[in-house]
């Protein structure tokens, strides 16, 4: 199977980007504590870089829902992630989330096991649920939040907890029991790849919902596909690009299938390229074959 050359693989850039984001989130308590450098503060619930600040959409919405009041700076902070989701879908989940980084790392480490490496890395799903569960997770989360009257995802969100526990460890030299949530999420990943992200993550659900009409999608070219189904086994979200599911809401643009495809049948493309495509007459196709 012909593989793309190392630097042309998109996943390499994804791993690099994930690593950089992870370093930023985990490293900034250290710079804040030991260096008193406050250029970057916070983590993915609200990240401040210089004068820019970013508020995670679900946490911002929850805070608005429970406080029943708008606060302009927090709305402004939500503009960047929402625009990003509109353009590129769930790229936060696949390109930035620290949980995805840790899951990816466990996958890579499992891949180093001799003999069964590949089987463990691309393990089949042990627990397979309905993908629609994702939406119900979002609704349940919002309902529970409004019943309790206090935002809930703000304290149990696994990507946020990675940052918070690091900060607790650096600042106060202890970790809290919330760390178990992160551990459970990573253990679920062993049962089914990205089980939490697929079925239970309300933030992912919200981003997927926003990204339903995203511009950046993975295009499946049935004419080039040879039907080897490598992409199906590689997809961490358990969807099947080989039957054209790559443009569905559940795809998070991680580019695993793009790199795995031996015939380049799967490619990133912007949905609106500014060119009207005239469908080619069927006669031309008939001649070719």
């Amino acid at each position: 199977m012909a593989r793309k050359s190392f630097w042309k693989r998109i996943t390499i850039w994804r791993y690099l980007f994930l690593f950089v984001c992870f370093v930023i989130v985990v490293g900034n308590p250290f710079t804040n504590y030991y260096g008193d450098i406050n250029f970057i503060q916070g983590w993915f619930q609200s990240l401040g870089v210089g004068n820019l600040w970013v508020v995670s959409p679900l946490e911002g919405v929850e805070s608005i829902l429970t406080a029943k009041a708008f606060y302009m700076p927090s709305l402004v902070g939500m503009v960047v992630p929402v625009t990003l989701a509109f353009l590129m879908g769930r790229v936060f989940c696949s390109w930035m989330c620290p949980i995805e980084f840790l899951s990816m790392l466990t996958d890579k480490i499992l891949g180093l096991v001799p003999k069964w490496g590949n089987k463990l890395k691309y393990r089949p799903d042990l627990i397979r649920l309905s993908k629609r569960l994702l939406w119900f997770a979002l609704v349940t989360e919002l309902l529970l939040t409004m019943i309790v009257g206090y935002p809930l995802f703000v304290w149990w969100s696994p990507p946020g907890l990675v940052g918070r526990e690091t900060m607790f460890y650096v600042f106060y030299k202890h970790v809290t029991i919330e760390l178990t949530i992160v551990v459970v999420v990573l253990l679920l990943n062993l049962l089914t790849r990205r089980m939490f992200c697929r079925y239970f993550c309300p933030l992912g659900a919200l981003l997927a919902l926003i990204g339903k009409w995203r511009q950046l999608v993975i295009r499946y070219d049935a004419g080039v596909c040879v039907g080897c189904k490598v992409c199906d086994s590689r997809c961490p979200m358990g969807i099947k690009p080989s039957v054209g599911e790559s443009q569905s809401v559940y795809c998070w643009n991680c580019a695993e299938c793009v790199d795995a495809c031996p015939t380049n049948a799967l490619n990133f493309t912007w949905r609106d390229k500014g060119v009207l495509k005239v469908p080619s007459p069927p006669v031309a196709l008939g001649k070719k074959t």
Partner: protein, 225 residues
Amino acid sequence: MEKRKSTESRRKFLKVSLGAFLSGALTSCDLSRFKNPKTMVKSPIGPNVLRPPGAVPEEHFAQKCIRCGRCGEVCPYHCIKYFDVKTGGVFSGTPYVNVMEKPCYLCMKCVYVCPTGSLVPCAKEDVRMGVAVINRQICVTWQQQKTGLMCKTCFDVCPFAGVAIKIDHDFRPYIVEENCTGCGICAYSCIADTWYENKGKKAITIMPIKWKKIKEIKLEDIKKS
């Protein structure tokens, strides 16, 4: 048949794990408070445990705060700490200042990084984290007949000395409640606990208050609380 069995056990597993998660979340609240939804969860804020400067009233604070931890990261004295799920329940992750561990020095850095308006930018003298209360039975200067001491530590350390803390003709300190920011430096540095009869008690406690703006405060309200 085999397939059915496996789905059944899986469902059981999911149900059990969901139940465990929910019960864990619920036990963090005090069940007796479910009678009244307004007070369903009890705030862990109390004497000497206060919100950072510029905080909105406590009943809105945990609703607005998104637990991003930026206030604690910019605090140069590292006096802002966070509740965890054991100590705070649903208040887990919200910031607090325990003035007995480390008081707030009113550098006002935290209020400018809060993304959700839980901490509202305000001037140093408008901060109302709480109000200092002097226990005159314990204060060594108020008991100078007995102790023969004349300490004015609280007056010396107060960032608004002469405005928020004044001393009378016998050097006995008293608080001007309208001007007290509740930063807790006086409570932190009070030396009354070293006097052997006080058994480690400090003479000054910072009591949390429910309002923020200086103009809204009436003296009767403070006396009530």
